[in-house]
Structures are given as structure tokens and as C-alpha cells.
Amino acid sequence: MLAELFPNIKYEDLVEATYETFYMTIIAIIGTCIFGLLLGLLLYLTKKDGIWKNKYIYFVVAALVNIFRAIPFIILILLLFPFTDFLIGTIRGPNAALPALIIGSAPFYGRLVEIALNEVEKGVIEAAKAMGAKTRTIIFRVLLPESMPALVSGLTVTSIALIGYTAMAGAIGAGGLGNYAYYFGFQRRDFDVVFLCTVIIVIIVFIFQFIGDFITNKLDKR
């Protein structure tokens, strides 16, 4: 039945491509989460009225974030080829896609983190200061827990953008469903492949959205 509907699909290849997409997405989410949190915290803490108020650091970080968000992802991959080659030793395959994926989405998530942190009530931070809390305590026991639902929903949005990015990276040789759809589907005019890859990507997006919403709701005690 399936073989009739999708005559040109090789199932081992499809499973392999799906696995690669998952692999790229999940590793990139972890990287994005770490670097995005760092960038977001840095932006939040060094901004005007921030705890580590510092015009220069804020300016530099904000400029970097804006520049990397402005570069279209497909061009960013090309620009990062030498860097990727140096870091990973190749410019092909799922691992080679990771630097571009993380550098492309961490600044985006960084901004979302900054917005989430800005939503934390000033009064709560003030209360922590009045109790004699260190900045570290304020970050880890107040800022991050209090903004957790927004941080998670921001990460969900970023993950879904990342799934799109993996497909784009696939088109220039990173592997995954994008790669499979482009080379084995589009270029051979086997549109059943393109269609099935699309369906799988949509399902993956739904799964991520569902998990993200579920965690956000669980965390939100407001």
C-alpha cells in the first residue's frame, strides 16, 4: 500500500534521514539553549538599570546578536564553511551543520531569553536583594526559575525554526530530511519523496510544539 503510494522511497534512507534530522535538531537545541541563555543573560544584566550595567559590553553583545540574526541562514552556512572545516574537519554531514545551526539560532534565542528575563517582576529581584542575595543566587534562584515558562516556550519556537534550518542545511549537503527531499526527491523529479519528507517534518514540528507546550503549562504556577 505504502509502496504503491510512494514508489520511489527507500525506507532505510528515509529512516536514516529522519534520524539525522532529529540528531541535528536536538544537538543544535542543546547548543542554542546554552549559548542563547548566556547571550540573553549578558544582555539582561548589562543593560541600562541592569545588575552589571555596562554600556560597552551591552553594545557589543547586542551588535553581534543583531548581525547574526540579520544574516539569512543559507548565506550564514556558506560564510561559516572555513570555520566549520576548521572545527569539525569537514563541511559535509550532520555534524558539519551544527556550528551554523547553533550560531544561526543562538542569537535569536538570546533575544527571546532577554525578553523573558525582562518579564520577571522587578519587585521580586528587589526582594531578593533585600534578603542579601548574591548576584549568582539572583540569577539561578530567581531570574531563571521565575522566567522558566517563557524560556521554555521561547526554546520551542527556536526549535521549530531550527528544524527548518536543518532542512536548508540539508539542501547543501548536511544530510537529514532536507537533504533527502532535495537530492532524492526534487532533483530526480520524484515528488512522492518530497511530499513524504514534508509530512515527516511537519510531524516532527508538531511533536516539538506539543512537548514544549506541555512543559510550559506544567511549569507555569502563576
Binding site: 517582576e121 519587585g123 526582594a127 531578593a128 534578603m131 542579601g132 542575595a133 530567581v142 526559575p145 504556577k221
Partner: protein, 343 residues
């Protein structure tokens, strides 16, 4: 003891220096409930935040229990803050933590080991009357309960001083009273010094011993709550006193009373502090052959006793009345004034 000398805080706004707190000097003895009242913008909120340096003073000195707060470095300041509790108008609880975890937070900051922490949290929950709500999240609590958590949290590290920044302004009158009673209770039980700022005279009346009235960054009037209530000097103070006693259009009222009650003598009795506890009216009625009719009056309670004014009509023989009058003047501390003699 808290002593404040020449405290000043200047904000720069559009190239204009605005003194939110201006050359404030004040001494607050231990165990006092000290009220600061003022309209919004009077600088009272800035004042209370200067005390634990949430706001950095522009100049001046703050000494709390021989520790000069104003010269501490940031590490010393953090430690000093652990000994100064603070509660807020909007409670400022962490919504992501349960009641008990919120109360445990200052203990975590102070590095109290887990087991002791749990014990202390339970004590505090009992102290503020939140038994059974330990696992609730702030969003599941009423305003009054939230403020109880705030108070428990502020008391966690056994502070010597409790700062209350408009702590009851977001609560309804009934809850306000419950929270104020809790504060008085804590003050008595723990001997804690409480500094409370508010714009409601009712709050001052109910729990404070001393009051300072602030206007434009300065303390314009200060003293015993009873004295300030009975003899307000500044216009602001008079307005605040009116919040409690109603407008002082007594002049009209008296003419009305005099017109409507043609018979007898009319007396104005002023009760102050202890005097309100005396059974004056019934004693007069028992001891002298006179009839008494209360025409108008209001008596209100403060921490230092009640005070108020009563207008009474006295019907009886002149002789009997004279004896009664001298009894009031000589044997009681009630101030008496004859508004209208027998016509």
C-alpha cells in the same frame, strides 16, 4: 536603635536635581513601631529603601544597632541585609515556589542547613497562621495570605528590624486589620523594631507608637501618635487626622446642637489616652442628681490609648451641676469645657 543623620537622596531628572529625601535626621529606639506617613511623592518610599540601601543615599549616615550601614562594602551590606527584614506592597513572592519554599529562600541565602531550614520554616508558618497552606503556590493564596508569607519570609533570619513598604495598601480593610494585628503581635513577641510607611492614617492609629509626617522629602512633624493626633500642627497632618476623625466642621455642628437642644447645659468633654478608659458618664449619673444626654462624639483607639471628644447635654439643678463639674476637673483627667451655660 536606629539613628539617621542628615540623610539625603537626590535624583537627577531632565538635568534637574530632585531631593526625594532631604536632610533627614531621626532616631528610632529598639522595639518601637515607627510610622512614616505622607502622600505619594513625599519621599517615604525612598526613605525606607535607603535604610537597607536598595537605594543608595546621596549623603548622610544610617546606623542600625551600632553598625554603620552607609559605609559597608557590598559583601558586608549583603550580610547586614540578612538582619533587616522587608515586606512590600505587592508582596514580591516568587510565584515559582510554594509557600514553604518562599519562606525558605532567605534561609538558603543565609546558608542555613536543610534540616534547620525545614524546622524554622514550620515555626514561621505557625507564627503567621498559615498552617495547612505549606504546599500552596502564591497564585492560590488571597492577598492577606500572600502578605503573611511575605512577613514569614522577612522574619526568617531573625532580623532586628522590619521595614514595611506600604505593606497593607493593596489589601482590603478587614485583611489590613488582620495583618496589622499580626505585626503588633510580632512586635510584642519578638521585640522587633518595625518601621512602617503608609498613606493611611488608620494604619498609624492602629499600631504605631511614634509617627513622622513627611512632605517633600522632609519630616514636617513628628512625635507620639496621640500627641500628633490631638494637636496636629501642619496642614498635611491635619488632613491625615481628618481621615480618621472626619472633617472638623465642629463649629457648625455645635450651633446645630445648641439650637436643637434648648434645655440644660452643654459640655464638651475631651478624652485623652487613659481618660477614655474611665467610666465617666455612668459615674456622673450615679454620683450626682443630673441627667445626661450624649449629643455627639467620637472616640478612637491608638496604641497609646484612645482619644476623642464627646458633647453631652446636662439637665439638672445648677448646684448639682457645679459639683459634677468640679468632680470632672479635679478627679479625672478628662478635659471639660462648658459650651453653653443655662440660658
Amino acid at each position: 536603635m536606629i539613628s539617621i543623620e542628615g540623610l539625603r537622596k537626590v535624583f537627577r531628572l531632565n538635568n534637574d536635581d530632585i531631593a526625594a529625601v532631604d536632610d533627614l535626621t531621626l532616631t528610632i529606639p529598639d522595639g518601637e513601631i515607627f510610622g512614616v506617613i505622607g502622600y505619594s511623592g513625599a519621599g517615604k518610599s525612598t526613605f525606607v529603601r535607603l535604610l537597607n540601601r536598595l537605594e543608595e543615599p546621596s549623603s548622610g549616615r544610617i546606623v542600625i544597632d551600632d553598625e554603620e550601614i552607609t559605609t559597608l562594602n557590598s559583601k558586608q551590606l549583603r550580610l547586614a541585609r540578612q538582619g533587616i527584614g522587608m515586606i512590600f506592597q505587592h508582596f514580591n513572592l516568587l510565584w515559582s515556589r510554594t509557600v514553604e519554599a518562599n519562606i525558605a529562600f532567605p534561609l538558603e541565602i543565609a546558608g542555613v542547613p536543610k534540616q534547620e531550614r525545614q524546622k524554622r520554616v514550620q515555626e514561621l508558618i505557625d507564627l503567621v497562621g498559615l498552617g495547612g497552606r505549606e504546599k500552596a503556590y502564591p497564585s492560590q493564596l488571597s492577598g492577606g495570605q500572600k502578605q503573611r508569607v511575605g512577613i514569614a519570609r522577612a522574619l526568617a533570619n531573625n532580623p532586628k528590624v522590619l521595614l514595611c513598604d506600604e505593606a497593607t495598601s493593596a489589601l482590603d480593610p478587614e485583611t489590613t486589620n488582620a495583618i496589622l494585628n499580626l505585626l503588633v503581635d510580632i512586635n510584642k513577641k519578638l521585640g522587633l523594631t518595625i518601621i512602617l510607611i503608609t498613606h493611611e492614617m488608620h494604619v498609624i492609629r492602629k499600631i504605631c507608637n511614634q509617627v513622622a509626617v513627611m512632605e517633600q522629602g522632609r519630616i514636617v512633624e513628628q512625635g507620639n501618635v496621640l500627641d500628633v493626633f490631638t494637636h496636629p500642627v501642619q496642614d498635611v497632618t491635619k488632613k491625615f487626622v481628618q481621615q480618621i476623625m472626619g472633617p472638623s466642621d465642629e463649629e457648625d455642628d455645635i450651633t446645630n446642637i445648641i439650637e436643637n437642644n434648648a434645655d440644660g447645659i452643654i459640655l464638651k468633654l475631651q478624652f485623652l489616652g487613659e481618660a477614655t478608659n474611665q467610666t465617666l458618664i455612668s459615674q456622673l449619673a450615679k454620683r450626682f442628681d443630673i441627667d445626661l444626654n450624649i449629643l455627639q462624639g467620637k472616640i478612637t483607639q491608638t496604641q497609646a490609648g484612645g482619644y476623642g471628644t464627646l458633647f453631652v447635654q446636662v439637665i439638672g439643678e445648677q448646684e448639682e451641676f457645679d459639683r459634677a463639674l468640679s468632680f470632672i476637673q479635679e478627679q479625672t483627667s478628662v478635659e471639660v469645657e462648658v459650651i453653653r451655660d443655662v440660658s
